[in-house]
């Protein structure tokens, strides 16, 4: 029961949105970035879907909304076409900076997305390294965080949960490791990959191992709440609704 438009937003804000975090957290990604001789601002513009620009340089990746400032651009005729880029590496139609675009897409961008896949879908052996296990968990959290807002605003079922979520900031975190903010205004969600000062609700996992288990569906959120391993506080109807959206995230990211 996936909606193609909602999936396009998950792919843009969840999967590709995690590139900016990959470029900060991952040493191999940093090596790939060194190949970039001149900054590239790559825009993906999806008809009836999202439009974002990914600004790459030697130091990292920054993402902006819309196409302003893009040096190259690729159009997709529909959300379905864009989803094929993620599922089958099938590109859209280059419409701006074609030479730069093709060179970048087949070069650093492909390498970065391949590395992203390695980090997000690792082998069991790779996960036995504690440092990589932590990186995988944090990256998964950023993907999920982007996907939550993408679905809250676009998936027909998650929108029901969003409709029942009051305004305010939700602090979503792994204790002492990372925190993001889900900001809700008039039932629309925005993911901010940074902690907030005055949350109305808190959902904090006690450690990396627990977070990893929760993200991979190996342990139950409710069970861990009952054990006291998830710190909850504030307007819990917000967290309750986010939990329902997380169920939808699992469907889309499966």
């Amino acid at each position: 029961m996936k909606n193609e438009k909602a999936l396009a937003f998950v792919n843009m804000y969840g999967i590709l949105g995690a590139l900016e975090n990959l470029c900060i957290l991952d040493s191999k990604a940093k090596e790939i970035l060194k190949e970039i001789k001149k900054p590239v601002a790559l825009c993906f513009d999806v008809k009836d879907g999202p439009c974002r620009t990914f600004h790459f340089d030697k130091n990292g990746c920054k993402i902006t909304e819309g196409s302003d400032g893009s040096s190259c651009k690729m159009n997709f005729a529909s959300p379905e076409k864009f989803n094929l880029l993620i599922d089958k590496s099938k590109p859209g139609v280059p419409v701006k900076g074609v030479v730069t675009l093709l060179k970048f897409l087949t070069g650093p961008f492909s390498k970065l997305t391949a590395r992203l896949e390695e980090v997000l879908r690792p082998s069991k052996e790779a996960l036995s390294d504690p440092a990589f296990f932590e990186e995988n968990t944090l990256m998964t959290m950023y993907v999920i965080a982007g996907a939550v807002s993408a679905l809250a605003n676009n998936d027909p079922i998650a929108k029901i949960s969003a409709e029942n979520t009051p305004d305010g900031d939700i602090y979503f975190a792994i204790k002492d490791k990372a925190a993001i903010t889900l900001s809700v205004k008039e039932h629309r969600f925005t993911t901010v990959k940074a902690p907030c000062e005055n949350p109305r609700a808190i959902m904090e996992f006690s450690d990396i191992k627990l977070a990893n288990g929760l993200f991979n569906g190996e342990v139950s959120t409710v069970n861990e709440m009952c054990k006291g391993n998830i710190r909850l506080a504030g307007v819990l109807s917000m967290v309750d609704n986010v939990n329902r959206i997380l169920d939808r995230v699992a469907v889309y990211l499966a």
Partner: protein, 423 residues
Amino acid sequence: MSKYPEYIHTKSREWFNRALNVIPSGIYGHLGPSEGLFLPLEKWPLISSKAQGTYFWDMDGNKYIDLMCAYGPNVLGYNDPDVDAAAIAQLKDGNCTTAPSYKMVECAELLVNTVETADWAYFMKNGTDATTFAFMCARAYTKKKKVIFFKGYYHGNDPWAMKADYPGILPSDVENNIIVPWFDMDALERVYEENHGDIAALIAQPYDHGNFYDNVCATKEKWQKVRKFCDDHGIVLIIDDVRAGFRLDLKGSDHYYGFKADIICFCKALANGYNMSAACGREFLKASASSLSFTGSYWMSAVPFAASIACINKMIKLDTPTLFKQKGEKLTSAFKKAAEENGFDLVVSGEPALFYLRIANDDSLMLHQEWVAECVSRGLFIASHHNHFINAALSDDDIALAADIANDAFSVVAKRHPDKLIK
């Protein structure tokens, strides 16, 4: 130094850990840590060993004044001697039998004589059974399919009464549900037109006693407009009185608000903890009620009927709605006074018999949750997200003790957050 030292829950926690091994979530549902919002978990008793009157004890022997009343069923006091005597006597005569006991007939007659709108009574076990019965009965009578709910609704756990984003629920389970804001007459007329009149029922609680927000009492005028809307369009008006039933008015909460439901659903206060629920309805729906295929193995067990008869008669004798209003007002006034003395703005909402509390010093409920946790860990069992319940065993001394513990808990929280207090 706190006047009431915090309880320790070592044994309760051991039992809870055993529960976690063999029961999903250890304690699932509203009595458990997740839906019950035990924040933080270590402050809560989790598992009880015994109960009496308005108190229960946990596995460590800690004693709690219980203002949740098992989320409603404790209406006369735990182990009420009159109700228990009737139940035990019936147990000796027979309980779950092939031919139902005459107690079922007596119980139905008592409900029909007590509840204003009741021309008949139909018995089942839980509130969900009663609301589902009412929903099916309305469909059977009207031959229509859609149901109107008021926003923030809760009418039990059957798929038809839930929402499409709940685990295990399909959009098709709830595709016939229409949700409108409380008492929004324009919205009601609009959805009636939009759905070409294909509406079997409107189901609502007697007032908005939802969770996580201040409860909003209804008015007679508002209900009269809804009643007229249903009459004009041939819509069955179902009142879900599972939570509030018999606490506002022994004739039904519809009577309290000056109108007559077509079907009214009862459960919690019906038998002082013995397991039964009932739907009562008007004569014109009796044939449709008869037509339903809707029954259960224990629905005609005699012990709960005997308990219910004793419970209803005692509620009549004590005039519990008047008692609950007085006790609720006295208790919440004492809580408000304690809050003010410690720099807190405690908002009390809803009907006094089912009062809802919220500390308004911040907008996140975090201070409120902290205060509730400090109350619970000192022996006053309340909830941070849900309305509370008064029972008849709650004495003036109990109210004084509850207020004193509340005051102590306020002082503990105040010391931690001097910057958030009202000067």
